[in-house]
Symmetry: C2
Subunit: 185 residues, 2 copies
DNA sequence: AATAATAGTATCGACTCGAAACATTATTAT
DNA sequence: ATAATAATGTTTCGAGTCGATACTATTATT
């Protein structure tokens, strides 16, 4: 088997397994993807639109997935205050509990059984691969807020940081989350 | 973001992208998975049952996928000679042409744009990860026939090799393919 | 010969997915 | 201001996935 073919085989089979683990606790893989995202996105990013970009899906599909998650009681929708078109998403308590018991935990446990150096190699390789793919597709990275070029740190404890793009204050917690607008410095 | 969470994020997002690339040329990801498999499986493995195990799906799902692939003219079914329950699968010429233009080619091209050592690191990491997962799930590896403990090599050119498990002769081409029964030596 | 195991198919309901049409609400150009 | 345009979501459609379950036909076992 030649190298490129092997790479495709590994990738497609691995993806299959990951996807398969997403059939868990009565949810579907796509629903887990959404919950996982919402558990980590900052307030500028908890919208159907941002989720759509993150998951590389279409608006319609995401709308459906969010509908069923809302019906199941894991996600709550509220209207955005500033923009009446926009919808603000939030995990309910049930949704947050679910996020803590991620369907991919078994995968994670499996990794933690490997030698520490292999764990590192694997994580690093995945990161390189993902970033290369995102770049080649022109996708947004959705990195951590406080690693963004628009992030303005405030060193006085208690007072908030600041996003220079959206002109909005940022508490510590929010600035640790992922953001649609994040652009590496 | 802690390490385990990062790993899950990388893995799930990467899988999403891989899956997404499978919506190509009018086929679905699962259909590509089937075609990719059939293009590489030896004659003992070109059956709905083996494909089911390989993809980690259920019989019913695979039956459906194969039905639509047959309807589209990419797969042909014939009855097995020895076992009248069994179905032998084969890619049609159209199916083989499709396999040569795999939906994941863009991903492969992207990899080939990376430095050679990174390509290697990434492939190796994927392999480790996949094997660890297969092991932890108790899945079969589907390795290359001639790396199997039951493979008996014949060094006289022209005469076939042999599978000591299934008691069947193996030509060079078949012994280079993947097999359900493969067990590392 | 009866029973169990195996290989597949058929059917169901919930869901995904892209595509396209459709509101609403914001933004921009005139 | 107001009209054109862009952006945010929703709805609907058809094809397909997926697990679960029930079912058929064939082969193996007892």
């Amino acid at each position: 088997m030649n190298k490129p073919q092997q790479f495709i085989n590994l990738l497609s089979r691995l993806s299959r397994l990951v996807n398969h683990d997403g059939h868990s606790k009565g949810l579907k893989p796509a629903q887990w993807d959404a919950i996982r995202y919402l558990a980590q996105a900052n307030r500028f990013s908890r919208s159907p639109g941002a989720l759509t970009i993150y998951l590389g899906a279409t608006k319609g599909t995401i709308s459906q997935t969010l509908m069923t998650l809302e019906k199941k009681g894991f996600v709550a929708k509220t209207q955005d205050l500033h923009d009446k078109r926009a919808v603000a998403l939030k995990l309910t308590t049930a949704g947050e509990n679910l996020a803590k018991e991620d369907a991919l935990k078994p995968f994670q446990r499996m990794l933690s059984d490997l030698p520490a150096n292999e764990q590192n190699d694997i994580t690093l390789a995945l990161e390189k691969l993902l970033l290369a793919k995102l770049r080649s597709d022109g996708n947004k990275p959705f990195g951590i807020c406080n690693t963004c070029r628009h992030f303005r740190k405030n060193n006085q404890s208690g007072s908030p940081h600041f996003c220079d793009l959206l002109k909005e204050p940022l508490c510590d917690i929010e600035s640790e989350k992922i953001c649609v607008e994040q652009t590496p410095a």
